[in-house]
Subunit: 295 residues, 2 copies
Amino acid sequence: MKDRKIGIVGLGRMGGNMARCLKDKGYQISVVHDVRPDVATSLAEEIGATAATALAEVTALSDVILTVVTDDAAMDAIFHGEDNLFSGAEGRLFINCATLTPEVHRKLERDAAAVGAECLEACMASSIPQARNGELFLMIGGKQEVFDATRPLLDHLSKALHYVGAAGKASEVKALVNMVMNINTAALAEGLGIGDALGLDLKMLCEVFSHTGANSRVLETDAEDMINRDHECYFSAAHAAKDSGIAIGLAKEQGIEAPVAEATLRQFTRLTEMGGGELDKSGVAELTFRGRALS
Amino acid sequence: MKDRKIGIVGLGRMGGNMARCLKDKGYQISVVHDVRPDVATSLAEEIGATAATALAEVTALSDVILTVVTDDAAMDAIFHGEDNLFSGAEGRLFINCATLTPEVHRKLERDAAAVGAECLEACMASSIPQARNGELFLMIGGKQEVFDATRPLLDHLSKALHYVGAAGKASEVKALVNMVMNINTAALAEGLGIGDALGLDLKMLCEVFSHTGANSRVLETDAEDMINRDHECYFSAAHAAKDSGIAIGLAKEQGIEAPVAEATLRQFTRLTEMGGGELDKSGVAELTFRGRALS
């Protein structure tokens, strides 16, 4: 797919680094766009692309458009706002990377078809370094034939690629991944917070956790940050709240109870309301260590 | 310590297998005891020990006594009942392996001192096969010099041994280990239960979990059992409820909030009240998969 012009919309730490990655691998990044024009201009200069000021310009200058925005509302704005990506979109392929409510992906596929375009959802279960190095874990939803045709590009972005099913299915998986991750994170924060209050050696406690049924991926990635209050953001508390909320919404639609996910959502929501939404998810430990509370 | 006579009280799957393990390694198991006399008789025959009918008999026939009972109440019964292990206990060493409220261990150390005996708490973060093979993960609380003197025996029971601090400290660590494990277990049950209701391929979902921030030890040990409803007991739901309750009690004493642990405790308590207390902790999935509820 290196003969096709690529546009990227949403140049946060994920989108910006996916652009750099594809550029390094020999793709033509023709155009980039962000709601912050200076971010778009800066990246455009770095990688030799055009910084579009209008979304319709992205569509005009690209064959394949990756969207890497934050949430349902941002997605609605870029596809259904006055200036939008569907303008003149016939023959275009949109690869949508945000973690969204599954129904948004299903509707987007229908809306794209109405203007003669195709869509894939490409949910990412990885973070910034993986985006930069083309080592994302990607879950793809959409039509099988569109996935097959797009596979070379997706392979260059990822080290693991799962075709999950129809549009919306990848978002369902992604929401559950993040729901479980968020619970495990909140669990770790409670364990370390109580241990700290009891005067336990937290390094010893983490080592014990690692050898027992308390072990988890978030123990590896977040425990030290929780202890050191280093909440530099890889995956924000606000995103954690959003994704747990999506998963709980799915549970409710299906009549499944998820009280532990709900208690976790309340923690991340509380942290966000206290002003900690842009902290990394490890910031939930600010609620469980004595005398912190973001002080 | 192979010259010392060993007694074992509490011959459930852990205690019974620790007895077999020590026997295999050349220790003299002189006497065993259980509230179920037939269980004691059967094990005594198997390993060539005396089956004591009275606890005082265990003390009379042993130098070192391992207690492997279930909870605070059982511990109180064997040490403070009419017939009890403190009768004639001068010079004896008690190694107490149950996960108890930390204060119980502190009081036990004081009470033992009053009759001229010593105590160690030896909390186990492992399960039945590890007990049988002398590969337990042990956390020890008590006096450092008592630990040092007992180390050869403890090494034969374990593959990892941590001296954690004064009496009660090992129970604190253990309660936190199990609290975090229980939350991660309940999280997994919610993720799989919602995924099942959405019609996702649960094998695929588990594989995705394993490659992402949702990965955990309980994903390895419990996911398949949750999917297959195979709740043969390694660590019971009732024990999960007990240990989460101990941890939450510690949190409350310290003024630390642990709402996710509390939501998890409610799940394991509910499962126990529904009659599922003797299911493995994986049985919590019975509450989160559509149409199950122990049916």
